[in-house]
């Protein structure tokens, strides 16, 4: 037990915490402790669960006592409208956690963020680098919280240069189980688009998100990383792959109705349906050395296949392996083998 690395996953009652904790349990050299203020509904077998609020001042003692090596912070409550309670929970919770980490001398902290923090703007470079300023809309609850969290993370990094702080900014996350702004956008039969706009966007599969978070816990990757497949897709292609009917609305009209309180018109600010907001993946490839397994097309196809199944057999249905899906799976496994084949000789050479 003593030589095992101790990894704390916050927010295990939520989807991401749950998935990451379950994935980490496959690593033999890792002891996983899950923290959340509420008990998880779906139990991860053999998870060391501790019920605690992140804002508890005794958290420092807990981290010291358990000799925690790594914290993967996944506690996050997504609200569309700016909400004080969510801000308190997300931003202040993270600030307190980071403070406790600094005090307790935790070696590694991993935060999950989104490419949306850069903001979708007409003058954006097509591929935003990690040092691009965070111009995301402050009127959107979850984006504002992410931006604030990153601000705290930056000052934490300045004060504790020894702690390895990894921030993963993911593209639009889509997957059969995850609940994200993008899946909410694609949930209905129709999707709102802005007339005459078709921005490029990067879509990442939920499994790749979990994979990237677990991968980041295995090495020393300092700083922020954009994480998404390098290839973007136009919005209309995404909608086509998801078999959604695009409903184009004249953009002043759409903005106007959102400003009048129709915020639920789109689960993300309309700017993201108008201008591109894509990350430059050079650092992910070269520094983080992570490659998403799913191509964006596969991700969206799988999502829509799952949706069709759900519509027919209800929410509880297990995954149905359709022809498309198996074909994609075969392709993906082939790519994975090829990639590993490439990597092994490279490693051999360097040795």
């Amino acid at each position: 037990m003593a030589e095992k690395r101790v990894i704390v996953v916050t927010g295990v009652a939520g989807y991401w915490g749950n998935r990451v904790a379950a994935r980490l349990r496959d690593h033999d050299d890792v002891h996983v402790i899950g923290i959340d203020s509420e008990t998880p509904q779906e139990n991860v077998d053999g998870l060391d669960f501790v019920q605690a609020d992140l804002r508890n001042p005794l958290l420092v003692d807990f981290l010291q006592e358990e000799q925690v090596e790594t914290i993967i912070h996944l506690k996050f409550r997504e609200t569309l409208m700016p909400s004080e309670s969510a801000f308190e929970e997300n931003v202040m919770g993270t600030a307190k956690l980071l403070g406790a980490c600094g005090e307790a001398g935790v070696k590694r902290v991993i935060l999950k963020s989104s490419l949306m923090v850069y903001g979708a703007r007409p003058d954006n470079p097509m591929f935003l680098r990690e040092d691009h300023p965070h111009n995301g809309p402050k009127k959107c609850g979850y984006i504002r919280d992410w931006i604030e969290i990153e601000k705290y993370a930056e000052s934490f990094h300045d004060q504790n240069p020894d702690t390895i702080l990894t921030i993963l900014r993911f593209g639009h996350i889509v997957g059969p189980k995850a609940d994200t702004p993008m899946t909410r956008f694609l949930r209905d039969e129709e999707a709102i688009t802005l007339l005459g706009f078709d921005p490029m966007m990067q879509v990442i599969h939920e499994d790749d998100v979990v994979g990237a978070l677990v991968h980041a816990a295995q090495g020393e990757y300092r700083g922020a990383f954009n994480v998404a497949p390098e290839k973007g897709m136009p919005l209309w292609k995404t909608l086509g792959l998801a078999s959604k009917l695009p409903i184009p609305i004249l953009h002043p009209l759409a903005y106007w109705s959102v400003s009048l309180g129709g915020a639920r018109l789109a689960p993300m600010p309309l700017d993201y349906l108008r201008f591109p907001c894509m990350g430059d993946m050079t650092r992910m490839r070269d520094v983080l050395q992570f490659t998403p397994q799913y191509t964006p097309e596969e991700t969206v196809r799988e999502f829509s296949a799952q949706q069709r199944v759900r519509k027919l057999f209800g929410k509880k249905s297990r995954e149905l392996f359709e022809q498309d899906r198996l074909r994609d799976t075969i392709q993906r496994r082939k790519r994975l083998r090829e990639r590993e084949g490439e990597r092994k000789p490279a490693r051999h050479k360097s040795a």
Partner: protein, 456 residues
């Protein structure tokens, strides 16, 4: 079509006269319609069975049509004016004469065969029973010319226009239907594919299918509307990063589209040009979409550098809004070339800079005044007032069909400067001025040569 044959028989009779082909002057009287009647049976007799030919009903129809043809054959019709040309063409071209003669022979031979077969089938058959006297006489006058020129190529074409006999053929209609059906199915298939997201774009959003669809419009503008003359294409390398630096003019960014079209049409490597556009365009519906799908990219340092590192052919318009929104009185006076950002990127990526001068685009719109107030009101970077623009609404947006020249200059190589030159501000401003002066000089040279705005 069988009903025509009696007529052909009639012609045969007179065409057999020994001096038939001698009289060339008679040709001026030959009406197109009459030729039509003789031409058709000659081609169709092979297919039709001789048994059908003598039905009285069809014979009556033939008579009616022949009379109508004769009535139309008044000697003072417009057709006459054109006929001597045909004769000249025939005289000048021995090949045509030879073909003409061969076809005439074939026609005569076939008519003869038909008569022989008819005689064999009904020994009582007499040609003058089927064709009334007057028709025979009229035909007799023209028979030699008809027989002589029936195979003339230009005549044939004109005939086909006059009498679209194929339209009555079921095979033609079937073929047409198949074509229409195929086109329809193809379009539906494309639409279905696009609706289900089954298409590819590159990482900048360029969509080849979209380009193929809109290209005819740009080809029309390039070849027909502005009749662009492009020179110096050999200065653009077949591959490798290249930065085109052009003047900007014409209120709407058609100049970029025309440079791109010209290179795609005429360059041996048919390189796809990626123009960098100003940050106002992505805020406009459709404009942003079309620019992205045709492979154009928002202008900023990161995009330019990435494109050049990917060895694309990139075009920049360093004058920006100041250039595109020029007043008519300021035409061809280059504005400031930005802050020389393009030179810095070229030095950084070691891409050669190629100056490009576009002449003719300045006059497509005549901007007399720029309204600051209106520009602020509608959120445009500039708002031109031209003799037509706000007054005629969308009609005022139609550009004038001026004659364009696009001159591509010699490359200015950046790889001879040492590493890290992109931080040398002196060098950057020097190079910026050099490029600007080169473009201005090329414009002036062209303007000196140009005689007319519209005719070149």
């Amino acid at each position: 079509m069988g009903q025509m044959d009696e007529l052909a028989v009639g012609i045969k009779k007179d065409a057999d006269m020994p001096d038939a082909s001698a009289n060339g002057d008679e040709m001026s009287a030959a009406p197109d319609d009459a030729v039509a009647f003789t031409d058709k049976p000659a081609r169709k007799t092979r297919k039709t069975s001789p048994a059908k030919k003598t039905t009285p009903k069809k014979a009556r129809q033939t008579k009616r049509r022949a009379r109508a043809a004769l009535r139309a054959q008044a000697p003072e019709t417009d057709v006459l004016a054109e006929l001597p040309d045909v004769q000249e063409e025939l005289d000048a071209n021995p090949e045509l004469q030879r073909r003409n003669q061969a076809l005439a022979d074939e026609l005569l031979h076939e008519v003869e065969m038909v008569i022989k077969r008819l005689m064999r089938l009904s020994p009582a058959y007499k040609t003058n029973l089927a064709v009334p006297q007057e028709v025979q006489e009229a035909l007799g006058e023209n028979a030699e010319t008809v027989a002589e020129s029936a195979g003339g190529a230009s005549m044939l074409k004109r005939l086909q226009k006059l009498l679209p006999g194929e339209m009555l053929d079921t095979d033609t209609l079937k073929g047409l239907w198949t074509m229409l059906k195929f086109t329809g199915e193809y379009q539906v298939d494309v639409l279905k594919r696009r609706m289900t997201g089954d298409y590819e774009t590159d990482e900048w959003g360029m969509d080849q299918e979209f380009i193929d669809a809109v290209r005819p419009l740009f080809d029309f503008l390039y070849n027909r509307y502005w009749r662009v003359t492009m020179t110096g294409l050999e200065n653009i390398p077949d591959e490798g990063r290249t930065l085109l630096v052009s003047n900007h003019s014409g209120q709407l960014p058609f100049d970029g589209a025309m440079i791109g079209t010209g290179i795609l049409q005429n360059h041996p490597a048919a390189r796809m040009m990626r123009a960098l556009y100003a940050n106002w365009f992505p805020t406009l519906p459709f404009v942003s979409d079309i620019l992205t799908k045709t492979g154009q990219v928002m202008a900023n340092d990161e995009n330019a550098e990435r494109l050049l590192r990917q060895d694309h052919l990139v075009a920049v318009f360093p004058e920006g809004y100041k250039g595109v929104g020029k007043l008519y009185k300021d035409r061809y006076h280059l504005a400031r070339f930005g802050r020389g950002g393009f030179v810095r990127i070229a030095l950084k990526t070691r891409a050669p800079m190629i100056p490009v001068a576009v002449v003719g685009a300045e006059e497509t719109y005549i901007s007399l005044y720029k309204s600051q107030t209106l520009a602020k009101l509608v959120g445009f970077p500039y708002f031109p007032i031209s003799p037509t623009f706000p007054w005629l609404g969308p009609l005022g947006l139609i550009p004038l069909p001026t004659k364009w020249y696009i001159d591509i200059g010699e490359p200015i190589h950046t790889d001879r400067y040492p590493e890290g030159s992109e931080n040398n501000l002196m060098l950057i401003s020097q190079l910026t001025d050099q490029v600007r002066d080169t473009v201005q000089k090329m414009i002036n040279d062209r303007l000196r040569m140009r005689k007319s705005i519209f005719m070149g």
